[in-house]
């Protein structure tokens, strides 16, 4: 609870000072390129993957990518690249 409160305070401070949240606060950044590529930064791990759904855990939310023929093109401990025919990206808070 304490950590959560500190995180919210930092997020508020970053908004006040107009700082990008993804730089130091671990806020996820999702970049969608056309309908064939999704780049997720600051993820916390893969929760589910398959040719139609890929779910990645992020700080305080889940990022769900829906589509067909989905595959994980590249993955590191911070970044995740999903390619395929993408029909939707959903944030589940």
């Amino acid at each position: 609870m304490r950590k959560d409160r500190a995180g919210k305070a930092l997020l508020k401070a970053s908004e006040i000072f107009d700082l990008p949240g993804e730089a130091g606060l671990g806020v996820p950044r999702v970049t969608v390129t056309g309908s064939h590529r999704v780049h997720i930064e600051n993820h916390r791990g893969l929760l589910e993957y398959g040719p139609e759904t890929i779910v990645a855990g992020c700080a305080g939310m889940l990022v769900k990518v829906r589509g067909s023929g989905l595959e994980i093109s590249a993955m590191s401990d911070l970044e995740l690249v999903v390619t395929g025919r993408i029909s939707g990206v959903e944030l589940i808070c």
Binding site: L46, Y49, I72, A74, M75, D77
Partner: protein, 396 residues
């Protein structure tokens, strides 16, 4: 590019077996195991592609964590290919030879680009470079750029700057040309205006100096028109200049035989091919020389260029020989007169420069198989030309 690098490095397709394959994937990502093309198999296992160093790391991670097992289901790339053909010596030797030749070819100059020249022709710069030992096919290691650039400045004095940039097999020659120094007008240098051809003066306008002629005077070539010495007061010398127009007369004659020869192609033709490889021409035929006694020779050069625009040092050369025979032909007298008149008028216009033609007439005579055309013209033109005079020259 990524695929080429993966092929060169070699990669393996591995299958991770775990109760929850997501967990195995997360463990890999957290331990910096690089992988790509992750898919889930029908039986729930995770399949991914990893490089050889990542595979070694993956095995260690799997052993340390104990959470999943790793099984290779496929492998590809240059290391595995070389391992497969390790006993096929001829193929291996061919491959090594090919790689060696590619490596060897990269130390030779295959292309020379000259940029920055406007008035100095590229061919002249290339010829000077050739004399400095920089040519297509030269070993890059033998080229000392600074020395060649310094010597090039001496060989081509019109250049103010030259740099040779070595881009592997391509040499880029960047040049800057000298700006010519304008001819300065020196008012203290005693200079007179003289006639360059005979004529009758129609206008004499002296801007500097002392005029010696006036309209109506007849002059011959070399006569002084405006003197440099001004006889005012104690007299002084100046740089005379002005405009002296004069009526001039010309007579040009040209002859042309009516009996000529005309080319008639027999239809026989032959082609020869050769290849220019790195500046060396390799003929793909045995017999040299022209195949026919009378023929036109047309040479076509076709340099191989890759789709990206890179020029390869290979040029195909096609020499075509078209045989012809000469047959006598008689030229029409009127045609000959028209051709000669046009040439005479061209000669006259070149002679008078900015002047103009007041009147002209042509006279045509024919006889003994020849057409003779004479052009007589009266023109008005500038005849003055400045020339330096010595101090003791008479001021007239």
């Amino acid at each position: 590019m990524g695929r080429i690098m993966n092929f060169l490095r070699g990669w393996a397709r591995v299958e991770l077996r775990c109760k929850y394959s997501e967990r195995a994937v997360n463990i890999c990502a957290r331990n910096h195991v690089e992988f790509w093309d992750l898919r889930r198999t029908e039986d729930g296992a995770a399949q991914m592609s990893v490089s050889i160093p990542s595979y070694v790391k993956l095995r260690r991670v799997a052993r340390d964590s104990g959470a999943f097992t790793v099984k290779i289901v496929g492998r590809s790339g240059a290391p595995f290919f070389l391992w497969r053909i390790r006993r096929r010596y001829a193929l291996l030797a061919g491959l090594l030879l090919c790689v060696g030749l590619i490596g060897l070819s990269s130390v030779f100059v295959w292309q020379i680009d000259v940029v920055g020249n406007k008035t100095v022709p590229t061919s002249r710069i290339l010829a000077a470079l050739r004399q400095e030992g920089v040519d297509i096919g030269t070993c890059v290691l033998d080229i000392v750029e600074t020395k060649a650039a310094n010597n090039m400045m001496l060989r081509v004095p019109e250049l103010s700057f030259i740099a040779l940039n070595n881009h592997g097999s391509r040499i880029e020659v960047v040049v800057r040309e000298k700006v010519p120094v304008p001819e300065l007008f020196d008012p203290r240098k005693p200079t007179g205006v003289f006639a360059r051809k005979p004529g009758i003066i129609t206008e004499a306008l002296a801007l500097e100096g002392w005029p010696l002629v006036e309209p109506g005077d007849a002059v011959i070539a070399g006569d002084e028109l405006i003197s440099a010495h001004v006889p005012l007061g104690r007299g002084f010398a100046t740089h005379a200049r002005g405009r002296v127009m004069a009526r001039t007369w010309y007579e040009f004659t040209l002859k042309m035989p009516l009996q000529t020869e005309r080319k008639v192609y027999t239809g026989e033709s032959r082609s020869r091919y050769s290849v220019i490889l790195g500046g060396k021409r390799i003929n793909l035929y045995f017999m040299g020389g022209n195949p026919y006694a009378s023929c036109d020779k047309i040479t076509e050069y076709d340099t191989l260029i890759l789709p990206g625009g890179a020029v390869l040092p290979v040029t195909l050369v096609r020499d075509s020989f078209d045989e012809y025979a000469t047959v006598p032909a008689v030229l029409d007298e009127e045609d000959a007169e028209r051709i000669l008149s046009a040439r005479l008028m061209e000669l006259l216009e070149n002679e008078i420069g900015d002047g103009w033609i007041v009147s002209s007439e042509t006279e045509c005579q024919s006889g003994e198989g020849l057409v003779t055309v004479t052009l007589r013209a009266e023109c008005v033109e500038e005849i003055g030309v400045e020339r330096e005079v010595t101090e003791d020259a008479p001021a007239q």
